[in-house]
């Protein structure tokens, strides 16, 4: 059964405020640095840095040329940063040399352990898109994966540093004319996001904006998206 047409709707956050959560402590950063006693069969692949970041992150909300000039409350400069950004940035762990030497991997799983940082991340995006008549949020799978979706799909190939990869979307999941948001945890070269945008545009969807938690500066991801708007919470170098 495929869904019928979806009317665009403005969603209020589906998340009520968490219950009295005094008992829930955000994880101590130190604790995550100290491995627990290895039980038999534990496989330890990497020892990670005691510090959460080995390179300072420039913290800012950045918005490319966007038609939403009214959203000035989201900071466009360093002087006017939402106070929640600092907590989000510091909750992201940097793992050096993963998945290969020379890469500083931005690990968002630690942010998922910090209930406030996670909620703030979602809230920042929800506040921005709540009243923008978005009917589709398209989420990207890491490093594009063919052959995962069970129904009929359309595919978009895109370039990697060596070779190509393929991203797929279910036929009929979206309708021409819908307004969509594309979301991923991080933009680097922009190849994955571009493939996602193209997939949606091929079926007539209007991709209103791309949204990422992290932008890796210096890899020209923003340029690869061209004039398509990009909104990020945190920059990393």
């Amino acid at each position: 059964m495929m869904r019928g047409s979806l009317l665009p709707r403005c969603s209020n956050s589906i998340f009520p405020p968490p219950p009295n959560s005094n008992r829930l402590q955000p994880p101590s950063l130190k604790r995550l640095s100290a491995p627990t006693a290895a039980s038999s069969g534990a496989q330890s692949r990497l020892t990670f840095s005691q510090n959460y970041r080995t390179a300072p992150n420039r913290l800012r909300c950045s918005v490319s040329e966007s038609q939403w000039k009214q959203d000035r409350e989201m900071a466009t400069g360093d002087e006017q940063q939402d106070p929640r950004i600092a907590g989000i940035s510091s909750a992201i762990r940097v793992i050096p040399n993963f998945p290969k030497p020379g890469i500083m991997f931005q690990d968002i799983t630690t942010m998922l352990l910090d209930t406030k940082a996670f909620k703030d991340t979602i809230d920042l995006f929800v506040e921005r898109y709540r009243d923008k008549n978005i009917s589709v949020v398209a989420g990207v799978e890491a490093r594009g994966k063919p052959n995962k979706l069970p129904g009929e799909v359309i595919s978009e190939e895109y370039s990697l540093e060596y070779g190509t990869d393929k991203m797929e979307m279910h036929v009929g999941a979206v309708e021409a004319g819908e307004r969509a948001l594309v979301i991923d945890d991080l933009i680097a070269t922009g190849g994955t996001l571009c493939a996602a945008v193209k997939l949606l545009e091929r079926v007539g969807v209007n991709v209103v904006e791309c949204a990422c938690v992290i932008e890796l500066l210096g890899l020209k991801g923003r340029e690869r998206l061209g004039d398509r708007p990009l909104f990020v919470l945190v920059n990393a170098t």
């Binding site: 589906i14 219950p19 829930l24 995550l32 627990t36 799983t109 209930t115 052959n147 069970p150 129904g151």
Partner: protein, 217 residues
């Protein structure tokens, strides 16, 4: 236990959720010599001998159509949230990959951490691994060291429970790091897993049963 027998009898939301799930025959494709094909095929043969053409096929329960139905998706999350909100749960562990679709929403709503349980070599930090058996061969689930503290109360979430192999591995992983697994929650599941309504002694909470397609092939 099924939601319909545990306080949600005749809840109209359950029917909407069930109907929003698409059944895709023969996925992964017939003839693929993969452990996954045999894994689901044997399971389905045992439970869904509906017609000759489907005997060797797979009735894949596709939750992506549920995600397109805003009401059904919200209802799914709401039912789990209503159940777990008052139970002092501080960890929601989601099994890759479709557990990632429901888990974070539940975690955010109940104020718990979300912990992804992933296939090997996906998590960047130091991990603990738990192997489990497939019909042919083995697979492995991993969790970040330090993601869960000893004594935390946890639930495990996945889209579907079949033989329970993956969920059992998830329970073992969490118990190895000292968590107390309160329950396993799945959108879709069969009435009994290996003749039991519990898994590793832990209760199972399931919203709907798998559907067959209306017209075979």
């Amino acid at each position: 236990m099924f939601a319909a027998e545990n306080g949600l009898k005749s809840d109209p939301r359950l029917q909407g959720i069930s109907e929003a799930i698409r059944v895709v025959p023969h996925f992964p494709k017939q003839g693929l010599n993969s452990s996954l094909v045999f894994f689901f095929g044997v399971w389905l043969f045992n439970y869904f001998c509906c017609c000759g053409c489907c005997l060797t096929g797979i009735m894949f329960q596709d939750i992506t159509t549920l995600l397109l139905d805003h009401k059904a998706f919200k209802d799914t999350v709401d039912i789990f949230v209503d159940r777990y909100r008052g139970m002092n749960i501080s960890v929601v562990a989601g099994v890759e990959a479709r557990g990632f679709v429901f888990g974070p929403a539940i975690a955010l709503a109940i104020g718990a951490k979300f912990v992804p349980l992933r296939k090997p070599r996906k998590l960047p930090g130091e991990v603990i691994s738990e192997a489990y058996e497939l019909e042919y061969g083995t697979d492995c689930l991993e969790i970040h060291v330090g993601a869960v503290q000893s004594g935390e109360r946890a639930i495990v979430i996945d889209d579907l429970v079949a033989t329970g192999g993956t969920l059992s591995a998830a329970i073992r992983l969490l118990e190895r790091v000292g968590a107390e697994v309160i329950e396993c929650a799945c959108v879709i599941g069969v009435r009994e897993v290996k003749g039991q309504c519990r898994l590793n002694g832990k209760p199972l909470y399931i919203l709907v049963e798998p559907r067959q397609i209306d017209n075979c092939c």
